[in-house]
Every structure is written in C-alpha cells, then in structure tokens.
Symmetry: C2
DNA sequence: GATCGTATTATTGTCAACAATCCGAGGGTC
DNA sequence: GACCCTCGGATTGTTGACAATAATACGATC
C-alpha cells in the first residue's frame, strides 16, 4: 500500500467538543471569571441535552478552570494576584522542562522549524496591527514549544495554563499589544534552540515569564516571595474544594454570552 | 467570635467522590491498565446511576488516566516505557519547581515539619515490614512536598502524576520494597530543606527521580535521550484523542473488580 | 424598623428509558 | 475453504422527567 499515513476516523466525544468550546470561551474572556454557567442556557446554546454538557463541565472542573459549588452551580474561577503568580510560576517550570527535553532529546531542529512557522505568523500579525492574531500566535508558540518536547503530560498541562494565561490577559483588560520586543524575545528563544545553547534557552524562558508577570502584575517578580494566597490550598488539595466560607454572591452575574461562537 | 477556624460544610460533589475512588483503584492496581470500565457494572457497585458515574469518568479522561473510544467505552490507559519516562520527567519538573518555591518563599520550616511527620510514618512502616504502608507514605511524602509550595496548580498536577506512578509500580509487579536507602533519600531531602541548601535540594530530587525510573526501567535514565514514544503526541494534543489505529481488542479484559473498596 | 419564619421559584442532582452504534456469531455464496 | 452479508446481543450516547436543594420575596412578630 502506497498511502501509509491515514488517520483514524474517530471523532472526539461530544463532551470533549463542548469542553473545548467552553475552554476557548473562557480563554478569550467571553466567560469572565466568576460567571455562573447555567446548565439549561448552555445546553440550549450547544443544542444538546444537559447530560453531555455536564460531562464537559466536569472536565473543566478537573482541569481547574471551573469551580463547583454543590446545589449552587458551576462558576468560572476567580483570578487573584496569587493565581497569576502561580500560573506563571508553573508555566515557567513546564516550559523549562520542555526546553530541556527538546535540547537533550535531539528535537532542536524539528522544534525550531515548527516554532519559526508560528513566529512568522506572529510577525505578520504585528506588522499589520492585528493584536488578536498576534496574541493567538503568542499562545500557539508556547503550545508548540511544549508539544515539541514530545511529553504528553507537559503538553496537557501547558494547554490548561495557556487557557488561564488568556483569562488573565482578558480579565485585566490588557489589549495585549504585542510589541516588537515581545517578538524579539520569541525569536531569541528559537535562536537559542537552533544554536544548541541550552542554558541560555532556560534563561530566556525565565525572563520571558518574568516579563509576562510584570506586565500583568507590575511590581511582582517570579523569583520574589510571591503574593500570599488569600486561601492557601489544603494539603489534600481537592480539585474542586469550595473553600470559600461565605460569599455574598449575586445569583447570576452574567449568563453565558457567546460560547459557541 | 473566639472560634475562627470552622470549615465550610460543603460536601464534594458525587462525581468528585466517585472520581477519587476510581483514582485510588487505578493507582493501587485494582483497575490495571487496559481494563474497560463498563458503566452499568460500575454504577451498580457505586450504587448510583450512570449519570454521575459518567461525569466522574470524564474527569479522569481529562486527567489523562482514562482513554475514551467513542461508542466503545472507557479504558484505563496503557503504560509503555515512554510513559514511565514521561511521568518521571514531569514529576521531576514539578517537584523541583515546588522545591524552589518552598526555599524562596520562606516555607522551608513549615515544609520540613510536615514532611518529617510523613517520614516518621515511612520509617515506622519500613521497620515493621509493611510495604503497603511504606509505599503510601512515600507517595504522601511527595504530595506533601508539592503541597507545601503553596501552588494549587503544581499540587493538582502532582496528584495525577502520583496516581500514575502508583500505576507503574503496580503494573510492573514490583513489590516496591522500600529499602533503607529509599528512606535515606527522603531524609536527605528534608535535611536539605531545613538547611536551606537549595541547589543541593534540587540535585537530591533529581537523583531521587533518577533512582525511581531506574528501578522501573533498568537501563533508562532521565537525562538520556529517552525512549521513543510509539505514538508521538499530535501537535494539537487532544486530551483524549484515541490515536490507536487498530487494536485487536478483546471486548472486555476485566470487569471493575474492587473500585469501592 | 429590624429580624425571623415561611412559601415560592429557579436551579442543580439524579434517574430510568430510548436511540445509536459496535462486536461477534451464524449462514450463505463463490 | 474463504469471504461476505445479515442478524442478535450488548454497550454506549442521549434525552426528558422527577426529586432535592438553595436563594429570593413576602409576611408576621417583637
């Protein structure tokens, strides 16, 4: 047989599709932090029953993007300064690990090639003044970087963290102008990969994350003591422990507005 | 009010409880890799309907512990050598990041105290020749270590990785005798934390992981090129993409045997 | 006037039944 | 004998309805 590369026809499950759409909506700010996800509304918008929708939402709860309160509903997580710090700290760890795998696993050339494609899109978007596309390319750059490590687990974690990064940017109303300096930083990362400069690469990623957190939380640093979390995670660390003692919550802050695009 | 520390009464959702039980069953080998999770059987064992059970399973799919094949069922993931490598590589990254946070965030004393409690249990278990308890303590040690970082995200990831570590040990039929050397390694980690020796701590964690992977995959190393994954993760990296082209599968390898203990 | 108790209403949690799909067995045909 | 088609059984996917719970509004009481 000549044609050897044919992919299986398996479609994703309905829950996976819905989860992906919700993830995108959370990432781009259509579902801002704190919003309650009413099941009937969302089910109607997705034109499915509540069953598959609930399954999809349970995925996001496990992912840490939604917070579940029994008999009360599911809410998009709130992002406090401690969370922004946490997100960038964790991203730093994940991407540095991925970078190490790339350099020591002989994947540098392949990774650099894939990254340069994204980089070209980023440059084009910046040149034509399209911040949305530039931001997309930025996100994709880091996703491709981690994926190039070949680590399934790092890749999955990175995806969640990128969603949360998008939440931060959207929540803090930064238009996220991608300046030339930002493009230069990414270019430097690719160059370091191609040049085989491992320790330089790790430093570049570190300072890139440092820049990211400084842009969102002026005055904070990745390597400082970090902001005290208002609610320290329990040692058991239940995925959806609703450790919010009393919340003067309005019953519904904002219904799902544009989940299915 | 004098009493200030009263925890909220909120119970976890049913899906969370079931997911936790399934996770434990997967970790300790009651549900070995490849087993299909029949919905009706499991629902009967948990004495709930299929609805909440499916929600719980979707959580584990998102977590990467289960693999979903449309209209075919949910299966415990298979663990190939590449996965063992991936698990330990990722654990290394997570725990090193946690260790850095502990040292730089002024949490060393607190962390060392919590870890020594677990360490005492581990020593006692080894002394009385209880490998099960010793293995439990080992797992808990690392969970507490990461939790002490205060990072919610690192903690959540670590928990999944510890479940998978348990799978590896159970799958490879290692009785997981925790030798004195193993206890000594953990002790060294606590000492490094208490002594404020950050770079030593990172080295100790690294070699601890190295030992772990060598125990499971003799001949492999964390820092070598690593085993080639038989199926490289797609660049998109769908969480449950069933990229297994053709599988001469028996319809049901083993029904759920002891999920609820 | 403020607080407590009660009824209402909307939402979530759960369930059992229906529909769609897949696997395997059996029989027929070449 | 090998291959194809068809049928039966079983499992998953989805749905709509019912039960349980919590938030709100209203009225009674001190």
């Amino acid at each position: 047989m000549a044609l050897a590369e044919l992919q299986p026809v398996n479609r994703d499950s309905t829950a996976a599709i819905i989860a992906e759409q919700l993830r995108a909506a959370i990432m781009n700010g259509s579902l801002p932090p704190g919003t309650q996800l009413g099941e009937v509304d969302l089910a109607a918008k997705f034109q499915v029953s509540r069953g598959p929708l609930r399954e999809a939402m349970q995925r996001l709860v496990q992912e840490g993007l939604l917070r579940s309160e029994r008999h009360r509903g599911l809410f998009v997580i709130d992002l406090e300064p401690a969370d922004v710090f946490d997100i960038y700290t964790t991203r730093n760890a994940i991407e540095q690990a991925a970078a190490t795998l790339i350099m020591r696993g002989g994947r540098a050339e392949q990774a650099a090639g894939a990254l340069e494609e994204v980089l070209a899109e980023m440059r084009a978007a910046v040149r034509r003044g399209d911040p949305h596309a530039a931001s997309d390319a930025d996100s994709r750059f880091h996703e491709v970087l981690v994926a190039a490590s070949g680590s399934r687990r790092l890749t999955r974690m990175a995806r969640t963290l990128l969603t949360e990064t998008g939440m931060c940017i959207a929540a803090l109303q930064r238009t996220y102008e991608v300046p030339d300096a930002q493009v230069a930083e990414h270019t430097g990362i690719v160059d370091a990969i191609r040049g085989g400069r491992e320790s330089l690469l790790l430093k570049l990623i570190d300072s890139h994350m440092e820049d990211g957190i400084r842009r969102l939380l002026p005055g904070y640093s990745l390597h400082g003591p970090g902001p005290e979390p208002s609610e320290p995670p329990s040692s058991a660390g239940a995925a959806d422990a609703p450790a919010r003692p009393a919340r003067p919550r309005t019953r519904r802050r904002s219904a799902a507005r544009k989940p299915a695009g």
